[in-house]
Symmetry: C2
Subunit: 344 residues, 2 copies
């Protein structure tokens, strides 16, 4: 299943104001998790709060497992090794005696079949034996001794396809192209290096960016492109929300708070009213904004990213991402979107 | 500074049996951390326990910072904004009021200058513009959608050098070599694919493995090679410890418990007595063993790895690693060690 994030929400058995706050918190969490586990006190059976949660999961089409806990205590009454019957999508466990925990893990693994809904990062754009060049500038904001997650994930998808990944920084691109006896099937660059890479890679070689690939993989590429083009229609004083999925990346933060606003105003020659959100705090009400520019969402799962896009769409507000709008502003959106359009 | 692991040890102010256990635990931790932070209750000043710890750090050459906490309480007595004088390697903070925390972090970052003592993974073996081929078999034990840490770290070191990383699985090696107009400076393979890669990569191209690179980077390559060759001298019934740095990698576990013992007995035609250790539980007393075969230690820092090697050397027991002994058994140790020897 790979790395898993577990969000532990409070119980739903409180009444009054605190109870309402808990329900709100729980709704927020439901928007971003891939599956839910409803833990029922097996000695008491399903409570009203449990039933309410069950209903909320079902309304949201959120896959869930009902876990009846405290099997050890129940067995003291009904006999060791015995369980009471539960529906097929439920399971009896004992957290304290560790009974059926592996079975529960298996149920979880089977329920989370494919969080990206069959979508691929790059595999469907390339073939076995293809050469894909990844341009990964290393600046001081890159994690020490590692690669950032979208680069890792793209490279892994290339390897899984039986293709060959050539990883380089920007200055070595001419050397890379000269060293290859075969034209690369695709060049993928970090959006920050768009301008230089666009010039260094000859027109007849397909070029795209990690941000384009991930808008397609966990977002809505069509929406992102249309919304980026909407920039031309914005009027002086329009309100733009710049939104980040996490709070801890200094690099993205610098792009979002400084570089992007500057670039947007310079390119359009207009003045806009910028607001920012980061981490979990994506606004519920977007009706006052004219455009949302979201980060690539490397720390958000596809479900959370799609949820944010849907909030924007429901509010009638265009949403694009950092890389896509940067491509638009540098006039290379047609080039970098071409390799991805018309494909599934 | 990159990702940091913080180990919180118990205080040293207990007496009696529990106190002794705490001291033992603390000694274990001291063997693997890069620096220590001694937290002193600033309202009380340095205790006997604190002084004991200070002495232990100094005996072990472990860099440390003394942090006087509860500055907020002290300031209630001596006045806001004031601090008492402390030595230069110490700092006053208030954890509750978050005073001087950023300064403390800066002190930590400066103290941990270079945990690998100036050693490089691969940078000193290659030059800017060089092509390095990384052979990274993807099997079911690989982390989902990611690359394993040593592969990531090697690739990052290549990029930091301004060299070019070509990442491939085994079947694409002929395609890779045919696609390159220039001979790669080095091919680095996962040890598991030694046999095939050795055959696919022509003799005139330098070949090594991630395990060789990491034995050099965070261990002692010379010791690992000598110890692997010591396999020829082991007699029937000799006692071999197979040791893993972590407890959670099914892949390594399978190599350590099944593949390696089988391969060792088949290659030597002898029967040995195997024992295993994993995670933190590296035995203190190794005197009864004839050989230690350690995993690559991708989850151990250089300090912990060197500590384990020193324990073996003090006990006069040869220690090698999985990849190095596999190269030895497949007769390719001379080839894969050649690119690394004679270099710093």
């Amino acid at each position: 299943l790979g790395p898993v994030m577990i969000v532990d929400t409070p119980g739903m058995d409180d009444e009054g104001e605190l109870g309402l706050l808990r329900i709100e918190k729980c709704k927020e969490v439901m928007a971003k998790v891939d599956i839910a586990i409803l833990v029922v006190d097996g000695t008491l059976g399903m409570s009203d709060g449990d039933r309410m949660l069950k209903k909320m999961f079902e309304e949201r089409n959120l896959p869930y497992i009902t876990v009846y806990n405290k099997l050890d205590l129940v067995q003291q009454r009904i006999g060791k090794g015995r369980t009471r019957e539960v529906p097929q999508d439920s399971i009896w466990v004992s957290a304290s005696d560790k009974i059926n925990i592996t079975d529960l893990k298996d149920m979880v693994a089977h329920l989370v079949v494919d969080p990206s809904n069959g979508r691929k990062i790059i595999a469907d754009l390339i073939s076995e034996g293809d050469i894909v060049v990844l341009v990964t500038p290393i600046d001081e904001a890159a994690p020490k001794g590692r690669l950032i997650l979208p680069q890792q994930q793209t490279l892994r998808d290339i390897l899984d396809t039986g293709a060959i990944g050539v990883v380089t920084q920007v200055p070595q691109i001419p050397e890379v192209l000269a060293s290859l006896a075969k034209t690369p099937a695709l060049v993928v660059t970090d959006s920050q290096a768009f301008k230089e890479v666009n010039e260094l890679v000859p027109e007849d070689i397909l070029l795209t960016s990690f941000s384009m690939l991930f808008a397609r993989y966990k977002g809505d590429l069509g929406e992102a492109i249309l919304s980026a083009n909407y920039l031309d229609k914005l009027e002086d004083g329009a309100k733009i929300l710049i939104s980040e999925g996490c709070t801890h990346h200094r690099q993205c933060n610098d792009i979002g708070t400084v570089k992007l606003p500057k670039m947007i105003e310079k390119t359009t020659g207009k003045n806009f009213h910028f607001e920012w959100s980061s981490g979990d705090s994506f606004p519920d009400d977007l009706s006052t904004f004219d455009l949302v520019v979201h980060c690539g969402g490397c720390m958000l799962n596809p479900r959370e990213m799609m949820h944010r896009i849907r909030i924007c769409q429901n509010a009638g507000v265009p949403i694009t991402n950092y890389g896509v709008i940067m491509a638009k502003m540098q006039g290379i959106l047609p080039r970098v979107s071409a390799p991805l359009l018309g494909k599934k």
